[in-house]
Amino acid sequence: MFSKMLRWINERWPLSTAIRWSLEEEMPGGTSYAYIFGSCVLILFLFQVITGVWQLLYFVPTTDRGYDSLNYLRTEIPFGWLIHGLHYWGASAMIVLVGLHISQVYIWGAYKNPRQLTWLIGVGNLLLTLALGFTGPVLPWDERGYWEAEVAVSSAGTIPLIGTLARNLLSGCTALGQMTVSRFFFLHVAILPGILIAFVILHLVAFRKFGISGPWDEAKRKLTGLFWPDQIFKDGIVVTLIFVALVGLSAYWPPPYSGPLDVLETFYVPKPEWYFLFFYQTLKAFHGVFEPIGTIGIPLIVTLLFLFLPFYDQSPERNPARRPVAMICFFIFIAWVITMAIIGYDSHPGIASEGTSKVSTASLQASKVSSGDPAAQASATVKQGEQLFNSLGCIGCHTIKGRGGVVGPALTPQLLKGKTRQWLITQIRNPRSHNPSTIMPAFSSATDRQINDVVDFLLSVVQGKPVIRGPVVKAPPTATVPVPPAIPSTAEVTGPHGPPEAASFTIGNVELGATIFHQDCEPCHGPQGKDKVPNPGSTDGTVPPLNPIDPTLFNKTAQIFVDHIDPYIQHGSIPDGPNPALHMLSFGDSQSLTQQMIANVEAYVLRLNGVERAQPVHPVLQPPLFFWLVVIVYALVLGGFLIWKGKR
């Protein structure tokens, strides 16, 4: 029956011939594990196509829903974590194997006559793979994706003469936005994979025409092996191991949640995927007018050197020992890539000292926004003060120079006018000595120098120019906080007012959340939410600690937990008690934190309490369990088969 069917098909379409053509090959020098890389890349590309197409069921390429739809796929869809993990890690694995494949071809001299065209197509495949690895991470339009697009589009803009054209064509608009996501999506899921499939077929046809180049030693070529099954068996073993490794990586090292895009967020350090780190680091060497050399010149030259390799190296010699120049060039290139990647990985741009210069860029931008404020040229202490104003969290409540929260009074020149240095220091150290019912926290842990810097900054706002200050003024010792007299509280209803807002629906970035927490929440809740900061006049007597959090707010299901805490962060709350000195501030309503920042803080608060914001809701099997199940099934089936064969 089967052979009849096969015959029927073969009479109309050369199926058996096609199979035989793809499998039957005599390999000079026999099979080797050195030849597995090409097959591995092919199979990995197949995995990428399958897992990529599957993700289209859930992912939408839009700026507002992209990240949420991806997270829905990762957390709500059974095995979504695995499919996305395989795609994410598969991309990295594919690039590693493409690199190994091309290195093997180079060392074996397999690009030489008659395989020049195979090499040319292969370099095309390398470029397409890198382009796929570049366009993919942009798609969710999260913190990582946005900044990667920004870099890509800006780099295109540095091309001489046609820069603006290239930039606008790539971004689909004059600024980054929905059209940019659509273009990257179009490239990533349609154009690039389509061309790559065509190129892979061309590559395979070219490879079949001449077969493998085999060992360079003529004597070793006498022995021959078969592509199927001898070589494919070796390929199969490695592919199986890679696949199991990808499942393991997806289970134990899931792709990071970089957080919803927030261009106001200045703590995020954008870095490319590891496979572009070497390029990213190299780019740093080119400034100003030399920038196009880095962004366009070097990639172009390297690509051309790769492409035309078989034409400027025409010697038929394949033995690496007799090609010293080629080998030295190879090792220099590899050393450059690895060294630059390691430096790039290790670099902390913008975090030069005390982790504040990132903030300083932000404040510089802010001062630029406020139309060339003279404070931009302020003295060092004013600048320090401005950074501290951000990092100590003052900006969470007070608007200054047009930026900041609205919980406390805006620090306009009119308000600050006439206030002495000593008055301001006391206000920061011990606000209740001026106004017993103030909700401003006492910044008792800041150093004298820091407080003086902040005061310098405040005074510079009044004067519109840097202040020249004398010796650092000693702050009066922090007085024990007097219990304020019972003033009737204006707000009678305690607890948060209002429902959870948009932040509660989005999965935040825990690391960014920790930074924001440090800046805005620590003054009252203490480091890691552990302190019991005194709150006189409240029933509890302290600000409620967040770690561990009130058991009525806790829930081990992340979404419910977030829904419980989000209203407090959004709308603030007034603690129970006759006259609580400190209130929870309404970070959302006052817009002192964006919804994205609140999502990040919530992810951090959940982690402090041992709950992952991004937990899979319907995992069927917990990821590590699934991985070990796969390992056991593989071991049993393959082991069982070997034992059964051994007995026969």
């Binding site: 090959e25 829903r65 095995f79 979504g80 070529r221 499942v247």
Partner: protein, 193 residues
Amino acid sequence: MVDNQNWNHTCAVAEAPLSGGGVPALQPETPRRRFLKLITNLMVALVAAVLAVPLIGGMIGSSFRLKKLRWAEIGDISSLSLEEPTNMKFAYKTEDAYIRETVIHDVWVIKHSPSEVTVFSPICPHLGCHYAWHPETQEFACPCHGSIYSITGKVLGGPAPRPLDTLPFKLEKEVLFVEWETFKVGTPQKTRT
């Protein structure tokens, strides 16, 4: 060149009879090769199986999920007067996969005692308009087609085919929670949409 001969050989194979048997193999099929073929196929099958489980499982698992009903918090009813319909607005989170939106809905609440209330959907069962309470006549009246209901929801006049729709609720310390549902309009039966 060795390689070119190889190519020619493959071409020769292509011209051979297509029925499978009778083609001279490149090298003899040894027991070792038979074993290698078997175990390679087995490895491919395993990878395919492990890949198929999540691919198919993910598609099936998410297709049979029931839409979640959530308790929506309406508010504190301790200050409501007894037996007097009150319109209470609340923010309701709708959820459709990853698209979540908060919409404002309202319900009519009649408090009988601190632990007993009636909650009416604000939608007229006739054709879906929003009706209102008229304290002077002690009636609910719909402005669209003049349906009139008593405080218990009974139809007193107009084209309404059924009494006002009640909604499931629960009370926690006088805080009212409602399951927001909508029903088909224009039919004598109350059926969920």
